[in-house]
Subunit: 274 residues, 2 copies
């Protein structure tokens, strides 16, 4: 079983480690890539090809793990030369996934998404959809943890997107609620009493969500644009629109904090100054 | 210790039961009230006064448990005659609480809110705020479960309001997300994978939130108006505005279902027809 990775960042290097441990042959192409990528590939001990096209020709399963921005471009580059299964596992919207996969001429395409963080998790849960998703699960024999969730391209990336937009919505809702409570001097009580209907760990995760919102407001606001586009097909995206506007306004107010504040109240104090 | 209840519905009758078990004297006035109220008071075996004014004169602690709509009116009625502590435990906004309590001439006022449901819970958690909240906790000697959370009138009712508006926001967010997922055929998967970051019981509580939204959309939309008024004092209420609009639009789409649907998909099917 030959597995090729288009791009070789953290996802590819982590998955490679598990695959190789289980006896798979892994390859990539790092020509013209950053030193960091070259180092990662070097340390992983994977086979190196001169071009993505050669890699596409020889791989039984070719997995695209590039930056979201390059997902379409790299598919376009190798689309005519891909002989095996082509898996788009990038963190992109269903629309971008479909667009990228449309360039794969043999039609053996899979939409896949990593659920949770891949950081050092050799067998992170990967959900997959599309007619060829079952073939992709062959890699479960090589230590991977792939679950087919549907027969259509776009479903796996939509699940990931819905999941992350829901989380963003909760963060926005929390921020608005707890900031108002903070201004009234009852933020800690509100967190405590909401926790009674929510669950174990609610307070800690809420605090962490408020803090991380202050560090990633720009990206979250931008990511909501694709969510809104998707949800608009089915329902008026009132909550998603508000979430987008919230993060864009938060970014205007606090920028993205570069160092993690020790306490959510520090974030609120920055808001107060505006 | 003489405790008077203004109004005698479920809250008053439940609390009375616990108070009397612990040796307190409980009274109310049911003149001109509904048969249901008279029956509740009769069964409870509390003392009956001819007028709210007499009740106000003799009570050490007078607790207002009327409908939200009557909170101000009843305070106005007894304001001049209240000798003891006056506790507003109605489910009303901080603004309405303040307005009601402003009529109590002796100034011995407490803002209180029941956290969770009082149904058959003799010692439901009650949070209280205001200078006289500590005096109200004397009733903990009579089996009640009162916790002082702050020194200002408005804080206890704000906590309850923030808690309930947060829950409404989550319900709106869930509905929008899961409905879109349902239209893509991946609603169950999305619930399942969101549950991985949220908590034990997330899926069940989400389903129940979607269902109950379809039954109480009108009231929830209306309740958001007061939340928005409060939050607007501190921050642009983007998420709260969206929550209000969501429930008002949901009410337009499905009305309030009179019988509980067995499955959230039934609610979504009603949406499809619009």
């Amino acid at each position: 079983m030959k597995i090729g990775f288009l791009g070789f960042g953290e996802v590819a290097s982590t998955l490679s480690e598990g695959l190789q441990e289980h006896g798979a042959t892994v390859a990539t192409c790092v020509e013209g890539r950053s030193t960091r990528t070259k180092n990662l590939a070097g340390k992983s001990g994977v086979n190196l090809y001169k071009t993505n096209i050669e890699l596409a020709e020889v791989s039984d399963i070719l997995i695209s793990t590039v930056t979201p921005f390059q997902a379409i471009k790299v598919a376009q580059e190798v689309g005519k030369y891909t002989n095996g299964i082509y898996v788009d596992i990038n963190n992109v919207s269903p629309k971008t996934t479909k667009k990228a996969l449309s360039f794969i001429d043999n039609g053996k395409i899979v939409d896949a998404s990593i659920i949770g963080s891949v950081k050092k998790v050799l067998n992170a849960l990967i959900i997959a959809s599309g007619e060829y998703a079952n073939q992709f699960t062959e890699l479960n024999n090589y230590g991977m943890n792939i679950k087919v969730i549907g027969g259509e391209i776009g479903q796996a990336s939509a699940i990931k997107m819905f999941r992350s937009s829901f989380t963003k919505g909760i963060s926005a809702l929390l921020f608005e609620t707890i900031y108002s409570a903070y201004k009234m001097g009852i933020d800690e009580e509100v967190l405590k009493y909401i926790a009674k209907t929510e669950c174990e760990g609610f307070k800690d995760s809420s605090i962490s969500r408020i803090i991380s919102s202050s560090m990633h407001a720009k990206r979250r606001g931008e990511e909501m644009e694709e969510v809104i586009e998707l949800i608009s097909e089915y329902i008026d995206p009132k909550m998603s629109n508000a979430t987008e506007k919230f993060f864009k306004s938060l970014y205007k107010n606090v920028n993205d904090l570069k160092t993690r504040p020790g306490d959510y109240k520090e974030v609120f104090k920055l808001m107060d100054k505006k």
